[in-house]
Each structure stands twice: as C-alpha cells, then as structure tokens.
C-alpha cells in the first residue's frame, strides 16, 4: 500500500504548482465506483499509470526543449509510450469499425454517439504530438552537437554512455547523418585542403571546430522541490523567513543564491544542472 501513499504525496506536490485546482486523488474513486477490471488495485499501479507517464513525458519534453545540452533518453518510459500509442491506435480502429458497420444512423448523429471515440482520437493526437515534438527536438540537438558527441564518446568523457544517452534510433540517425554530412564537406572542401587542415574536428586552430553545448547559458526554472515533500532532503535549507531553499553558487561571480521552493528563476544552466538531474527543478 505504500505505493498509494507515494501517489497521494506526488499529487499533493503537484497541487502546489497549480494554484487553481483542488486536490483530487486519482486512485481512490476506482474502488468506490467500481471497475470492470478483475483486480483494480493491481491494474492501476499508480506509478505506472498512463497519466503519470504522460506527465513525465511532458516534463522530459519541456526540459529537453529548453536545455542547452542533450538530456539522457528515458528508455523505459519511451518504450511504454510507443507501445501505448500502438495499442490505442488498434483499439480505436476496432471501435470505429464497429461504428461503421452500424449504417442505420446518419452521420451527424453517428458522430454525436461517438463522443468517447472523438475524445480518444483527440487524446491520442496529443500524445503523438508530444512524442513527435520531443524526438524532433532531440534530433535537432543531436545534429547541433554531432561532433561533440563523437568526441566525448571517443575520449570517454561521457558521464552517461552513448547507448544510454541516446535511443537506438537516435544512434543510427547520428551515425548516418554525420557520415553523409562529412561526405559532403569532404567532397566539396576538405579534400582540397593541405593535409594538416583536412580535419573536421580540429580544436587547435584559432577557433575550435567542435562546438560544445553552452552550459553557462541562461534557462528559466521552476523550483519544484523533492518528489516527496515529507521525506528529508539533505540539500534543503531553511532561511529566516522559514522558506525552504536550495543554496547554489554561481562560480564565475562567486555569488550565492537561494532557490526557494515554488520560485521561478532565470539562472545559468550549469548552476542548476544537478538539481535538474535530481528532478528538484524543472525547466520552464
């Protein structure tokens, strides 16, 4: 049952971000109102609910869009999501087949009867959109940092191995795209250069050729706090006004800043990088 408690806590936490809605628990009503599932408790493990997954996916999408570096690919979540899209497409197809057979209705009435179906189609479109936009954004960043990714995977400077950082498809995309781009640059330019200038990743010239992500660039953050507010977070401190905050340091300026829970800040990415990794802030 402790899973349920986690879920409720998570919901409570979410509630602080949305000022205008009142708290509801998603889990409780199931048993109260009944469910066709033979075992509702097990069928709806809160942590793996579609809604929670979609919430997570949306956060990944928003973080990725605003983050100067490429964030690790959520392999399990994405596998679940892609499977869910497929299942839902089949499910919808099944349902609409049933409706088409039912020729007696005129179409205007037909569509009204299909309200659940309409809703499910719109719902599926929404999920597909986030997935599409998320992956397209990642491909864009992979292209932008193509040489850098190669460089760090060769020198072993990766905090996360490439196979974890990228999905299988992304790895293939990265390899194939950098190969055809290199072919183009080679044929058009590089092979005409003297040998010492033929490299595409020469960092010893006046200007470095390999572009690194600008980790110091500014991002907008929302300080969410720990996933479970009741658990102790050793990184949190409390100021004189009783607000809980994460102390951070802007290295370059040797400046200390308090990131209060619930606050919105514009901050250098490098300063909040670890907090983002721990899901204590989100990029907005």
């Amino acid at each position: 049952m402790d899973i349920d408690i986690d879920d409720i806590l998570a919901d409570l936490d979410r509630d602080t971000t949305a000022v205008d809605h009142t708290f509801t628990s998603q889990g409780n009503d199931i048993t109260v109102l009944g469910n066709d599932e033979p075992n509702p408790e097990k069928a709806e493990v809160p942590r793996l609910s579609p809604v929670k997954d979609f919430d997570d996916l949306t956060t990944h999408w928003r973080n990725e869009r605003m983050c100067p570096e490429l964030l690790p690919y959520p392999h399990l979540l994405m596998a679940r999501m892609l499977r869910r899209v497929q299942e839902q497409m089949e499910h919808i197809e099944c349902l609409s087949m049933g409706f088409l057979d039912d020729e007696s209705n005129n179409s205007a009435q037909n569509i009204a009867n299909k309200l659940p179906l309409l809703c499910m189609e719109a719902d599926l479109e929404r999920l597909k959109f986030v997935l599409r936009s998320y992956i397209r954004c990642r491909l864009f960043k992979i292209d932008k940092q193509s040489l850098y990714l190669i460089q760090i995977s060769q020198t072993g400077d990766l905090t996360v191995p490439l196979e974890e950082l990228l999905s299988k498809q992304e790895i293939e995309y990265h390899q194939r795209h950098s190969a055809i781009l290199l072919k183009l640059l080679n044929s058009a330019i590089l092979r005409h250069m003297p040998p010492e200038l033929q490299a595409i990743d020469d960092n010893d010239g006046s200007v470095k050729m390999v572009e690194e992500p600008e980790l110091d660039s500014f991002v907008f953050i929302y300080v969410k706090g720990p996933d479970y507010p009741h658990k102790q977070d050793p990184m949190l401190e409390v100021n004189e006004e009783g607000q809980r905050y994460y102390p951070v340091t802007i290295q370059e300026l040797k400046e200390e800043v308090e990131l209060t829970i619930g606050g919105i800040y514009v901050m250098r990415y490098s300063v909040i990088r670890d907090l983002l990794k721990d899901r204590k802030v989100i990029l907005i």
Binding site: Q169, H192, L197, G205, S206
Partner: protein, 207 residues
C-alpha cells in the same frame, strides 16, 4: 588580399540566412561554384607558399622569426579560407535538412518541390546529400517510430474536431466517421484534418 574572396562567400551565406529568416519556406539560391573554385585556387597558392616557407624555416637559423611570421600569415590565411568555405557549405546543408523535413522525407528532388528551379541551384554533391538525408528521414519514419509520424505537424493539436457550415453544395464525402452529405447551409461536426482542403477551397466555413 588573401581571404577577401572567402569573405564574399560568407556575405552570401549571410544573405541566405536573412532570406530564410524573412520567409516561411526555406530556399537556396544558386551554389556559388565559381567563387568556391577561386577560393580553392587561392588555397593551392597558399599551400605552395607554406611548403616553401617550411623548407626555409628548416634551413636558415638566422632570421627564423621572419620566416616564422611569413609562415604564420600563410597558415592563418588558409585557416580562414577553410572556415569560410565550411560555414557556407554548412549553412546550405542545414537548409537542405529543413527542406527535407518539410517534404516529409520524400525525395525533394523528384517530388518536384525543389526541382523547378531548386535542383539547378544545388551543387552535385548537395543533390546527393539531399537525396541521402531524405532517405534517412524516410527510414526514421518507419520502424519503431512509424506510429507517430515523425515529419508530421509540430503545431500542438487543439480543436481536433470543429463545427463547419456548408457554403456551397459539395456532394458526399467519405470520412472515418461515415458519409457526410454536404448541402448548402447545413452544419456538421467533423474532424478538422478531414475537411481542411474543403475549407481552403471555400466549400466549408469553420464556425
């Protein structure tokens, strides 16, 4: 002066950038082959100079600083030319990427979108690149990601379904939701994607 030609090429790159910033669809003007060839010729000249200077540097010890300076200048000129050439080509290949995505990963050359004036504007290597990149997109769209239509719209969906009024008779249309008989002044609730064409053609009006 060395590097002047290369600068011209970068100014052309800047022009392409501004062109595409101010228009909704990406386009590529003519590949500046003559200019590129002339810069490559200049590179050859510089290459020769550098080799001579290198030899000199190894031979005379007395005035090494002079040869060093001459050598550095030559090296920097080559480096500069390389950067300008690369930036020009990279800007163009980036634009080709956008064109390929806009074309759904279909081969933009044979699909006709680029072919009219476009393919003439591309260098031979660029045509090859566009073809290969389009193929890459097509491959990405199939397989595990087939269901999400990777090259589909990046505008967030709201209003998947809309109310429309029929402005002129348009006969029957078949949709996933059955047959609609579009008679003037009737109203329907339809999926926006199903009727987008009819709205554009003036048969239907979004309410």
């Amino acid at each position: 002066m060395y590097g002047d030609l290369a600068n011209k090429l970068v100014l052309e790159a800047k022009r392409i950038q501004q062109l595409n910033q101010n228009s909704s669809c990406d386009q590529l003007p003519l590949y500046q082959d003559g200019l590129v060839q002339n810069i490559l010729k200049e590179m050859n000249q510089l290459k020769k100079n550098a080799e001579i200077l290198k030899l000199q540097q190894e031979n005379d010890q007395d005035d090494s600083k002079i040869t060093r300076c001459q050598y550095f200048v030559t090296l920097l000129c080559m480096e500069r030319n390389k950067r300008c050439l690369m930036a020009y080509q990279k800007l163009r290949s980036d634009t080709l990427d956008s064109i390929a995505w806009d074309n759904d990963g279909l081969d933009a050359l044979s699909a006709g979108t680029v072919s009219n004036q476009g393919s003439k504007n591309l260098s031979h290597f660029e045509q090859e690149y566009l073809k290969e990149y389009s193929q890459l997109i097509t491959d990405m769209k199939s397989g595990d990601l087939a269901d999400i239509d990777l090259s589909g719209s990046l505008t967030s969906p709201s209003d998947v379904f809309i109310d429309v009024r029929v402005l002129k008779d348009a006969g029957e249309i078949q949709t996933e939701y059955g047959v609609f008989n579009l008679i003037k002044d009737t109203q329907f609730f339809v999926r926006q994607a199903d009727v987008e064409r009819l709205i554009r053609q003036g048969y239907l009006q979004k309410l």
